[in-house]
């Protein structure tokens, strides 16, 4: 005898009285209807930002990187800051879909689809920065190990910058496969219930002809599990390798072994914040509050307070080690971070990343939606400053005082950054309109164990004494056996 039972201690993952059909209705309805006014306004602004970004990039390519504020002392400015920021944001999706799958965290099913989409779009944005930072972007293919007429001269496989090329392209590809393989059955659902011919045609193509046989699902589960197993070290490796871009150098402030775990924690921290930013809005506009519940947001806030604290410890460790090393270069680098001309960026980072998330220790605040939303933005501002602090305030006062410099961005750099917001939100708005933002098949899978109405039915079992319960189970077990023997 099999009983679908989950402890009452756990909150339901799906609120309200849902059955399988209602789940499909709730999640697919927004795709079949016309989007609201808010969608058009948001989409329009995103497109404008995107075009401004394209203009800024075109300007930078045409006139060269001299149009940027970077100089000989500070060679990496806003662009690499933004690169690391976006790639960090891109970590939450795979963490939710892969690591939480391995940890059997049921609440991931409500948020994984949107979080993975966010990951893919964030990695797309991140990838723009190193590409356009090349300046002579038409030579960009030199990073690929292709046979060529220059020897053939190969890229340097010992260089962290090349590791990054491999790490990010692999991460993008694997995330995309993971995301799309989960989407296929949901596209089949949209196809099968489509009323218009065009929708049937397009979702027919997108669904790859999925019909959901028992064997299909068996392989799907095997694929998801192995992809999760592969993505788990992958997601940790990506930001580790990004941190190697800094940590393998000999610049004071960069040359430190704490960087890989510190970067990964920071990435998860900012990624979950971005998921919260998006989902607080999405659940409201698409009326999905019963699927993305306050419990989901609270779970993510818990991750935020944990990773925020790890990041805080890392900042303090860095300070301690710079003093403990008694290396004057290290000590000076940190002194100028805190008290130099860029003091404001250091303190913005400290306040946003270390101090403010501690408020999430209070359950009331973790479950407060406006507060969650504000905090999610504060965290991402803080994480942007973290990267700015690492990149700019480690380089602006180098070994030769004569070359000390100051850096502020020029308009094409700011435009480029805004442009990636345009790219990100254009993609996200299209996703929210044409894709099921919640994994329908996965919600159906957990519905009978974690749905509110099904949990309520379990009250009968909850009311029984232990002995009664055990006796009934045993009786049912014997019946099963008797039947089997009879057959």
């Amino acid at each position: 005898m099999h009983i679908k039972y989950e402890s009452f201690v756990r909150e339901p993952l799906v609120d309200g009285d849902k059955n399988y059909h209602q789940v499909s209705e709730d999640i697919i309805k927004p795709i079949e209807g016309k989007p609201g006014r808010m969608w058009y306004v948001g989409f329009f602004f995103s497109i404008i930002l995107l075009f401004f970004g394209i203009f800024s990039v075109a300007w930078s390519v045409y006139w060269g990187l001299g149009t940027w504020g970077v100089n000989r002392t500070i060679g990496w400015g806003w662009d690499i800051t933004n690169f690391v920021w976006w790639i960090g944001i891109g970590h939450a999706g795979t963490l939710i879909s892969a690591i939480l799958l391995l940890f059997r965290q049921g609440w991931r099913t409500g948020v994984n689809r949107a979080a993975e989409a966010m990951t893919i779009f964030a990695v797309m944005c991140a990838g723009q920065f190193p590409i356009w930072h090349m300046g002579r972007v038409w030579d960009g293919f030199w990073v690929l190990p292709l046979p060529n007429s220059r020897g053939p001269l190969w890229p340097n496989f010992d260089s962290p910058l090349l590791w990054d090329v491999f790490a990010i392209s692999t991460y993008f590809t694997v995330s995309l496969l993971f995301w799309y393989s989960g989407l296929v059955p949901d596209f089949a659902l949209i196809r099968d219930r489509a009323k218009t011919k065009l929708r049937r045609l397009l979702y027919g193509v997108a669904s790859f002809g999925w019909t959901g046989t028992a064997k299909n699902w068996q392989r799907m589960e095997a694929l998801a599990l192995v992809l999760a197993g592969l993505s788990t070290p992958l997601v940790l490796s990506v930001h580790t390798i990004v941190s190697f871009d800094f940590a393998t150098s000999v610049i004071p402030g960069w040359h430190t072994t704490i960087f890989p775990p510190y970067f990964v924690a920071g990435a998860v921290f900012s990624g979950f914040a971005m998921v919260n930013t998006l989902l607080v809005i999405t659940r409201k506009i698409l009326k999905l509050e019963e699927y993305i519940t306050i419990g989901h947001l609270e779970a993510m806030n818990k991750v935020i307070v944990l990773t925020g604290s790890i990041v805080g410890v890392a900042y303090l460790t860095e300070l301690f080690i710079s003093w403990y090393s008694q290396s004057w270069g290290e000590m000076a680098a940190f002194k100028w971070r805190i008290m130099g001309p860029y003091w404001w960026s250091y303190w913005a980072m400290m306040t946003c990343n270390v101090v403010s998330p501690q408020l999430f220790w209070l359950k009331k605040l973790r479950r407060n939606i406006p507060f969650t939303f504000v905090m999610s933005i504060v965290v991402n501002i803080g994480m942007w400053f973290e990267r700015f602090v690492i990149i700019v305030t480690s380089t602006y006062r180098d070994w030769v005082p004569g070359s000390w410099a100051y850096y502020s961005p020029e308009w094409p750099e700011v435009g480029f950054y805004l442009g990636t917001f345009g790219l990100f939100f254009t993609c996200y708005f299209l996703f929210a309109k044409y894709f099921p933002v919640i994994a329908v098949a996965e919600i159906k899978f957990v519905l009978k164990t974690s749905g509110d109405n099904y949990k309520r039915d379990m009250q009968v079992i909850e009311d029984k004494t232990e002995e009664e319960f055990v006796r009934e189970i045993e009786a049912a077990h014997h019946e099963d056996h008797a039947e089997a023997a009879h057959n």
Binding site: N19, P145, N156, P185, F208, T213, W217
Partner: protein, 193 residues
């Protein structure tokens, strides 16, 4: 590629589906397949399907990725174009670990996904017969292949006793074909009315 006759039963609860599958297997009728809107755990076992070997394929693809990376980089750096980078030896294995790892993951993931598509016969443009439009929504649909020894009335009556909500007989293409999902196929006219 063959158009065959099927008896179709739709169930609205997994709890009814499992005993029904058991009964069909015991009855000796040819169980074509069961279509479900989500992964129903234990259904493959109940139907007597073997565990998939997809993960073994993934492991082999991963090994291919590892050997490609190590083989290619070591050939380049020790024989094709040896350069001293930062005083490292030509055969700088620790420095190749990141790329080796990434390629292992990449090969395993891409290879496995392609194998997954091949085994399931899914691809953009592929079309298959859908026995019930709600088999991806809330119904669990079982199809039994009919032949001259299994009169359809008998099978339908049998399916009704298993607790099916809906039953019917359909002509269906058993395999996949290239086609557009917005177009009706010729054989589907046989099922009209």
């Amino acid at each position: 590629m063959a158009i065959k006759k099927f008896a179709v039963a739709a169930y609205d609860d997994e709890a009814v589906l499992f005993p029904a599958v058991k009964k069909v297997r015991k009855s000796g009728y040819k169980l074509h397949d069961v279509y479900t809107p989500f992964a129903v755990h234990g259904l493959d076992e109940a139907m007597g399907l073997k565990e998939t070997d997809l993960h073994i394929a993934g492991f082999i693809y991963g090994l291919c990725g590892t050997s490609t990376a190590v083989g290619f980089i070591s050939w380049i750096f020790t024989s094709d174009w040896p350069i001293v980078y930062g005083g490292k030896p030509h055969f700088a294995l620790p420095a190749w670990i990141p790329i080796t790892f990434e390629l292992t993951v990449l090969f395993a993931a891409v290879g496995m996904t392609m194998t997954f598509c091949y085994l399931n016969q899914i691809m953009p443009g592929v079309k298959k017969h859908v026995f019930h439009p709600r088999q991806s929504d809330d119904l669990f649909v079982m199809a039994i292949e009919l032949n001259e020894h299994t009169p359809e009335a008998e099978v339908i009556d049998f399916l009704k006793t298993t607790g099916a909500k809906e039953t019917n007989v359909q002509m269906a293409e058993e395999s996949w074909w290239y086609g557009r999902w917005d177009k009706k196929e010729e054989y589907e006219a046989l099922n009209a009315g």
